[in-house]
C-alpha cells in the first residue's frame, strides 16, 4: 500500500487518460442515446443495453459474412441500422401503446425486452466469445507526445466529437429536434398545434437505439463480444445519464468523461477496485447534486 501513488509515472498516467478517453467515446455514444429517449419519451429504456449488445454481435456477423477489408466498414454501417430497424418495429408495434403508463410499468416493459433479447442473442449467436478484428488501417499504434496510442482508439476519439456535434445539430438546429424538445416539455401542446407527436417519438426512439447499436459496433473490435455485456453497459449508461442530468446531451458527455476517466485512472491507482471508482465518484456527485450536474430537461 505504501507509496502506491508515487509509482505512477506521468507518461503512464497520460496514456491511461488517452485510453480512458476512447472508452469515454463509447460510453458517451451509448449514454447519449439513452438520455435522448429518457429526455423526450421519458422511457427508462433498460433494453438500451441489449441494443448495444445486438449491435456488437451484428457487427461480428456482418464483418464475417462480407469478409475482407470491406467487412469492417460494411458492418459499422449495417449493424447500427439493423439495430435501428429492430427498435422501429418494437416502438411501432408495442411501445407506442404504452406512453401514458407509469414509469415503473415502462421500466418493467423495457426489462422484459432485456430478458427476451438476452435469450434471443444466446439462441442466435451461442454462448461463445466472439471477436471482430481491427481493420489493417487501424492496426498498430501512433505516437502522440511520445506515447503509443492504438490507432483504433484514435479513430474512436475522432468519432466521439462527431457524434456529439451531430446530436447537437439534430436537437438544436433541425425541425424534428425542435419538435422533440418541445414535446419533451409538453407533448399535449405539441399535439394540439397539429404535429404528429407519435411519429416524432418514434423517430427519437429509433435514433436513440441507433446510437446504442453504433456504440456496440464501435466497441466490437476492442473487446470480446459476450453475453452479459448488455447488463454492465446499461448500468454505466444510466449512471452517466443521471450524473449528467436526465435528457441533457452535454450532461451525457460530461458524465461519460467522469465515468471513463475515473475508470481509467482507477486502473492505475488500484487495479482490483477499478470498477468501484466510477461508481463511487458518481454516487459522491449525486449526494451533492441529486438531479445531476447539468440542467435536466424534465
Amino acid at each position: 500500500m505504501h507509496g502506491f501513488i508515487s509509482q505512477i509515472s506521468l507518461p503512464s498516467l497520460l496514456q491511461q487518460i488517452l485510453v480512458g478517453l476512447s472508452r469515454t467515446t463509447i460510453l458517451f455514444i451509448v449514454a447519449s442515446g439513452l438520455s435522448l429517449v429518457l429526455g423526450v419519451l421519458r422511457i427508462p429504456n433498460l433494453a438500451h443495453g441489449s441494443f448495444y449488445m445486438i449491435g456488437a454481435f451484428l457487427t461480428y456477423s456482418v464483418a464475417a459474412a462480407v469478409g475482407g477489408k470491406a467487412g469492417f466498414w460494411v458492418a459499422m454501417v449495417a449493424a447500427p441500422i439493423g439495430v435501428a430497424l429492430i427498435s422501429l418495429v418494437m416502438e411501432r408495434g408495442l411501445f407506442c401503446h404504452l406512453y401514458d403508463r407509469e414509469h415503473l410499468m415502462l421500466l418493467l416493459f423495457t426489462f422484459s425486452f432485456t430478458l427476451v433479447f438476452g435469450d434471443l442473442v444466446k439462441i442466435i449467436w451461442g454462448s461463445d466469445f466472439r471477436s471482430v478484428s481491427i481493420p489493417p488501417v487501424f492496426q498498430g499504434s501512433l505516437s502522440i507526445f511520445g506515447l503509443p496510442l492504438p490507432r483504433y482508439n484514435l479513430f474512436l476519439l475522432v468519432i466521439g466529437p462527431l457524434v456529439a456535434l451531430g446530436l447537437w445539430i439534430l436537437t438544436q438546429k433541425t425541425k424534428i429536434g425542435k419538435i422533440a424538445r418541445a414535446a419533451a416539455v409538453d407533448r399535449e401542446m405539441v399535439g394540439a398545434v397539429g404535429i404528429n407527436v407519435s411519429l416524432v417519438f418514434s423517430a427519437v426512439f429509433v435514433i436513440g437505439c441507433f446510437l446504442a447499436g453504433l456504440g456496440g459496433a464501435l466497441v466490437a473490435p476492442t473487446q470480446n463480444i459476450t453475453q452479459g455485456m448488455d447488463h454492465s453497459i446499461i448500468m454505466e449508461a444510466f449512471l452517466i445519464v443521471i450524473v449528467g442530468g436526465l435528457g441533457n446531451i452535454w450532461g451525457a458527455l460530461l458524465g461519460a468523461l467522469i465515468f471513463g476517466l475515473t475508470d481509467a485512472v482507477g486502473i492505475l491507482l488500484w487495479p482490483q477496485f477499478a470498477i468501484v471508482f466510477p461508481y463511487a465518484v458518481v454516487v459522491t456527485i449525486l449526494m451533492f447534486r441529486p438531479r445531476g450536474l447539468l440542467k435536466s430537461t424534465w
Binding site: F109, F111, G118, I242, Q272, M287, R291
Partner: protein, 319 residues
Amino acid sequence: MPDQKIDVQKIFWVMGIGLLFLLLPRFLPRFYVYLTALILLTGLLATSLNLVLGFGGMYQFHHAVFYGVGAYSLALMLTKSGLPVWTGFIAAPLISAIVGYIIGLICVRLSKLYFGMLQISLGSLVWAIVFRWYSFTGGDDGIHGIPLPKILSVSHGAYYFTLIITAISLYLMFRIVHSPFGRTFQAIRDNPERCEAIGIHVRRHQLAGEVIAGFFAGIAGTLFVTVEASVFPDLMFWTLSLEILIMCLLGGWFTFFGPMLGAAIMVILRTFVGIYTEYWTLILGIVLMLLIFFMPDGVLGMIQKAGGRGDGVKGNHRL
C-alpha cells in the same frame, strides 16, 4: 382487508395453511421441500419490497441490495468471525436495516424516478465493492459451503427455520401495514402533497419505510444462506431487483399476499420451465410483456385512481 375483526373463518384458514406447511416434509420429496423453502424466502423478499413499493408508492428499483447485504453479512460472520453463531442471524438484518437507512437518507430527498435511479446507482456501488473485494467477500465467486448451526443442517431443519421466520416476519409486516404508521404510509403514497400539508413528515415516514423494508429483506437474505449455504454477488445485482419487481406485479401490489403468490409462481415456473428449456428468461420476458399489456389496470389502476391521475397523458409524468 378493511376491518381487523377476529374472524373465525380467517383463523381456520390460517391454521389450515400453517398445518399444511408444517406437515409438508412428511409427504413431499426432499427437492420439493427445498423448493418450498425457496418460495417462502423469496416471497418474504418480495413482500418486503411491496411494503415500500405497493404500500408506500416508492420506486424501490434496487431492493436486492438489502437482500444481498443481509446474506453476505451472515455469511461473513459465519465464516470469518468467531462470534456466537446466532448473533449473525440477529446482526445481519440489522446491518441491512442500517444500509437501508443510509441509502434511504440519500434517496428520500427525491421522488419517483429520480429516487429509483439514485437508488440503483447506490446499489450498484455496493454491488461493485462486493464483486471486486476478493479477499473479503470472495469476489465474483462468492462464498460457498458456509458452516451452519447443527440444528439447521439436520433433516428439514432449514425448512422449518425458514417457515417459522417467514411466518413471524409476514405477521409483523401485516401488522405494520395495518398500523397507524402503515395507514399514514399509504396516505403518503396516494397524495404526498396533501400529507405534507396536514403536517405529516413525508420523508421521515419514507425513510422509516426504507429501514423496515431493508430489515425484512435482510431476514430473507439470512434465510437464503440457511437454505443454500452459499452467497454470490448476483444476490445484489440489479437484474434480481427487477425480478422481485415482477413478482410484485405478477401477484398484485396492492394486496398484502400478492407478492408471495408472485414469488411462488416465479420460482415454480423457473424450476419447471428450466427442466424443459434453457431459455427461461425468454419465457419470463414474454410473460411479463403479456402481463403489462393485458393486465394494465389490475395493478397500477388503483394508484392512479387514488392519486386522481387517470386523466390522459400528462398526469402520468408528474414526478
